[in-house]
C-alpha cells in the first residue's frame, strides 16, 4: 500500500515587477504536474540538478510551502485539505531533515532543547520523561547522551546532521523527507550518516523520500528513483532497472557525466556531454523542456509536453523517442 501519493502537484512562484504597484509578470514553475507514490517502508530517491524543483517538491509535501494545485495523500488524508491548525497532527508522522546542518539548528538552543522541542509542542510526557527520551534519541543516532547540554557550534557537520535526525525521529514519524542530507559532508562522514539512516530505517520501519543531486548516493540508498528536470519527472523506475537501463536521454547524460573512481572504467567510458545549462524555469522551452540540450531531439519534441508513460513494468519515461 502506498503511504504517500502525490497527484498532479504544481507549485508556481509568481515573479513580480514594479516598485509601488507590484504585478505578476510570470511564474517560475518549480514543480510542474508531478505525480508519484511512495510505498510503506521503501526509499524513493529524487534526483536532479540544481533548479529542477526537487527541494520545492519536498517542502510542498510537508506543506512548508502551499501548493498551487494538486493533491497529496499521506496515510489516508489529503494534506492540502487539512486546516493549518491541524497540520501539526500530520507532521508528527511526517518529518524532514534539511541539507545544511549549520543553519537548520538554532545556535542559541542546546542540543537537548532542540531535540525536546517537538515533544514539547506535541505535549508528550513530562519534563523528566522528555529528558529520558532525548537521551535515548542521542544514543540512537550514535551521539553520547552526555552531550545534551552542549550547543550546536560545538559539533562537527556530521554530528549536527545526527542531531537533525534525532529531532526528526523524536515523534516516531512514519516517513522522513530527507532533503540533501549528506551533501554538505565529507565522504567519510557522509558514509557514516548514510549507514545511520539505513539502520534507522530497518529499526523503525521508516519510509524515506530521499532528495539528492548525487546519483551515487541515491543509487546506494533508494529502492526506486525518480529523475527530475525543470519541474517534471522525466523518468522513474526501480533503482537497479534505472541504472542498468536508463531510457530518457537526460538520465543517460546524468549517468555518463559522473566520474567513477576507477581509472580503467573511467577511460573506457563513452561520455555523453550535454551542451549548455539548465534553461530557466520561468520560460521553459515549449514541448519537452529537455529538447534544447537533447542529442536525440527531433522537430516533434517542440510540439507537445511528453507524458510520463509506463514503457516497461514499473519503468516510466517522458520521452517520445523511447
Amino acid at each position: 500500500m502506498s503511504l504517500l501519493e502525490v497527484k498532479q502537484v504544481k507549485k508556481y512562484f509568481p515573479v513580480t515587477a514594479g516598485f509601488l504597484i507590484r504585478r505578476d509578470v510570470g511564474y517560475v514553475r518549480a514543480v510542474d504536474d508531478v505525480s508519484f507514490e511512495v510505498n510503506e517502508g521503501e526509499t524513493l530517491g529524487i534526483v536532479g540538478e540544481s533548479g529542477c524543483g526537487k527541494s520545492t517538491l519536498g517542502r510542498v509535501i510537508l506543506r512548508l510551502l502551499d501548493p498551487t494545485s494538486g493533491e497529496i495523500w499521506f496515510d489516508g488524508e489529503d494534506i492540502f485539505k487539512i486546516k493549518r491548525r491541524e497540520l501539526r497532527r500530520v507532521r508528527k508522522k511526517l518529518q524532514i531533515i534539511f541539507q545544511d546542518p549549520y543553519s537548520s539548528l538554532n545556535p542559541r538552543m542546546t542540543v537537548g532543547q532542540i531535540i525536546e522541542e517537538p515533544l514539547m509542542l506535541h505535549r508528550i510526557g513530562d519534563a523528566n520523561e522528555r529528558q529520558v527520551r532525548v537521551r535515548e534519541l542521542l544514543g540512537v543516532v550514535g551521539l553520547n547522551p552526555s552531550y545534551i547540554s552542549r550547543y550546536p557550534h560545538e559539533f562537527s557537520g556530521g554530528q549536527r546532521q545526527r542531531i537533525g535526525i534525532a529531532r526528526a525521529l523524536s515523534l516516531h514519524p512514519k516517513m522522513i523527507v530527507a532533503d540533501e542530507p549528506v551533501s554538505a559532508l565529507d565522504v567519510s562522514i557522509q558514509a557514516q550518516v548514510i549507514n545511520l539512516m539505513e539502520e534507522l530505517q530497518e529499526k523503525f520501519k521508516l519510509t524515506y523520500l530521499f532528495i539528492s543531486h548525487d546519483l551515487s548516493v541515491v543509487k546506494h540508498i533508494s529502492n526506486r528513483v525518480a529523475v527530475m528536470y525543470l519541474g517534471k519527472i522525466v523518468e522513474s523506475a526501480k533503482t537497479d532497472e534505472l541504472f542498468k537501463n536508463p531510457l530518457h536521454p537526460y538520465t543517460k547524460a546524468l549517468l555518463s557525466a559522473i566520474p567513477i573512481p576507477n581509472p580503467d572504467k573511467e577511460h573506457l567510458k563513452k561520455r555523453m556531454v550535454l551542451v549548455g545549462d539548465l534553461p530557466g524555469s520561468m520560460n521553459p522551452p515549449p514541448g519537452c523542456a529537455f529538447h534544447t540540450r537533447c542529442p536525440m531531439a527531433i522537430a516533434d519534441c517542440k510540439l507537445a509536453v511528453p507524458e510520463l508513460r509506463e514503457v516497461l513494468p514499473g519503468h516510466k519515461v517522458a520521452c517520445i523517442r523511447v
Partner: protein, 331 residues
C-alpha cells in the same frame, strides 16, 4: 613520473601554521612533492586536511593569521618563498595561474567579464588595450562561451555558474601559464556542467602543455584527470602514488577508507558502506604518533608510540603506514 630530471615545481618540507587565539594550528606540516611538466597531480583529502592551504602557499597567498613557517617551493629553479612581492606578482596569473572553487565570489561583480580577462593580459603581457581585448575575446571563444563577442560586455551576475567558471578558466589561461592550480574547480557545479568543464580543462591542458595541480575531494575526478595522486590527512602526506596504484592497490588505510566510504555507480549497491569512524583531528602540536591511528581499524600499539616515516611502497609510491604491505581493500 614524467620528466624526472628537473621537475617544474618542487615543494620541500613545507609547513604552514595558523596562529589563532587558541594557539598554533598546523595546517600543513612537512610536505614534500614535485610535479613534472605536462603532468597532473591530484591532491585529495577531506576538508581541513590542508590541501587548499598548500595550493595558496605556492602563490604566496596565505594571509595572517596563517604563515608559511618553513620550507622551499622551487618553480623553474627559483625558490618562490624568497621572492619579493613584485617578483611573485609577475608570476601570478602569468606563469602560474589559479582557478578557485566559487566562481561567484572570485569574479569582481562591478566589472564586465571581458574587462577582467583583459586586465590580466594588459598587466602581464604589456599589451595595448586593443590587443588585450582581442586576446580576451579569443579566450572567451577558447573556453567555448557561446556568442563570445556579445558576452564580452556581460557582468558576472548575468552568467550561469558553469559560464562563470569558464570565465575563470579563460582568465587563468589568458597569459598561457605553464602551471595551473585548480582548487575544487567543479565542486559548485552540477554534474552535467562539471563534465563539460573537465572536458574543457583536459583539452586546454593538452593544447597549452600545462602542468596542473588539481585539488579535489572527489575521487572520481581524480581517476578521470590525474597522473599522480597525493593523499593528505591532517596536514601530512599519507600516501602518494600514480593514479592507477591508488585506486587498485592503495597502501594506506586512510586511502582505503576514502575509497570504501564512497557510494559508487559501478557497485552492486547491496552492501553497507564502510565509513571511517570519528573525525579529522586538529593539529595543535607536531605529530608524535600516526595521526590517523585513532580512526584506523588496523592500528597497533606501535602506531601510537611514534609517527611512521614515509615508506617506499612500490615504484613511485610512498605510504606513511607501518603496515603498508598489509593494507587490503575490503570490498
Amino acid at each position: 613520473m614524467g620528466n624526472e630530471l628537473t621537475p617544474l615545481l618542487e615543494v620541500k618540507n613545507l609547513a604552514i601554521s595558523f596562529f589563532t587565539d587558541h594557539g598554533e594550528i598546523r595546517a600543513v606540516d612537512g610536505l614534500d612533492f614535485s610535479l613534472g611538466s605536462g603532468q597532473t597531480l591530484g591532491i585529495v583529502g577531506e576538508s581541513g586536511s590542508g590541501k587548499s592551504v598548500t595550493a595558496l602557499s605556492i602563490l604566496k597567498l596565505i594571509l595572517p593569521p596563517g604563515k608559511i613557517v618553513s620550507g622551499e617551493i622551487f618553480f623553474e629553479g627559483r625558490n618562490l618563498l624568497t621572492l619579493s612581492d613584485s617578483e611573485i606578482g609577475h608570476l601570478r596569473g602569468n606563469r602560474i595561474s589559479m582557478i578557485f572553487q566559487d566562481p561567484m565570489t572570485s569574479l569582481n561583480p562591478v566589472f564586465t567579464i571581458g574587462a577582467q580577462i583583459a586586465e590580466a593580459v594588459t598587466i602581464h603581457q604589456k599589451n595595448s588595450h586593443h590587443d588585450a581585448k582581442k586576446r580576451a575575446m579569443e579566450m572567451l571563444e577558447m573556453v567555448k562561451i557561446p556568442e563570445a563577442a556579445s558576452r564580452y560586455d556581460a557582468y558576472p551576475h548575468q552568467l550561469s555558474g558553469g559560464m562563470r567558471q569558464r570565465v575563470m578558466i579563460a582568465m587563468a589561461l589568458s597569459c598561457k601559464p605553464i602551471l595551473l592550480i585548480a582548487d575544487e574547480p567543479t565542486t559548485a557545479l552540477d554534474v552535467t556542467v562539471q563534465a563539460q568543464i573537465l572536458d574543457l580543462l583536459r583539452e586546454l591542458q593538452g593544447e597549452l602543455n600545462m602542468s596542473t595541480i588539481l585539488i579535489t575531494h572527489n575521487l572520481g575526478i581524480v581517476a578521470e584527470m590525474c597522473d599522480e595522486v597525493l593523499v593528505m590527512y591532517a596536514g601530512r602526506e599519507v600516501e602518494r602514488a600514480p593514479a592507477n596504484d591508488i585506486f587498485y592497490h592503495p597502501r594506506h588505510p586512510y586511502t582505503v577508507g576514502l575509497l570504501t566510504s564512497l557510494p559508487r555507480l559501478d557497485d552492486r549497491g547491496e552492501s553497507r558502506l564502510v565509513p571511517i569512524p570519528g573525525q579529522l583531528p586538529v593539529m595543535k602540536a607536531k605529530a608524535s604518533s600516526c595521526t590517523f591511528a585513532p580512526r584506523c581499524k588496523m592500528a597497533q600499539p606501535k602506531c601510537t608510540e611514534s609517527e611512521p616515516p614515509l615508506y617506499s611502497s612500490g615504484k613511485n609510491c610512498e605510504s606513511r603506514c607501518y603496515f603498508w604491505d598489509q593494507v587490503i581493500v575490503q570490498r
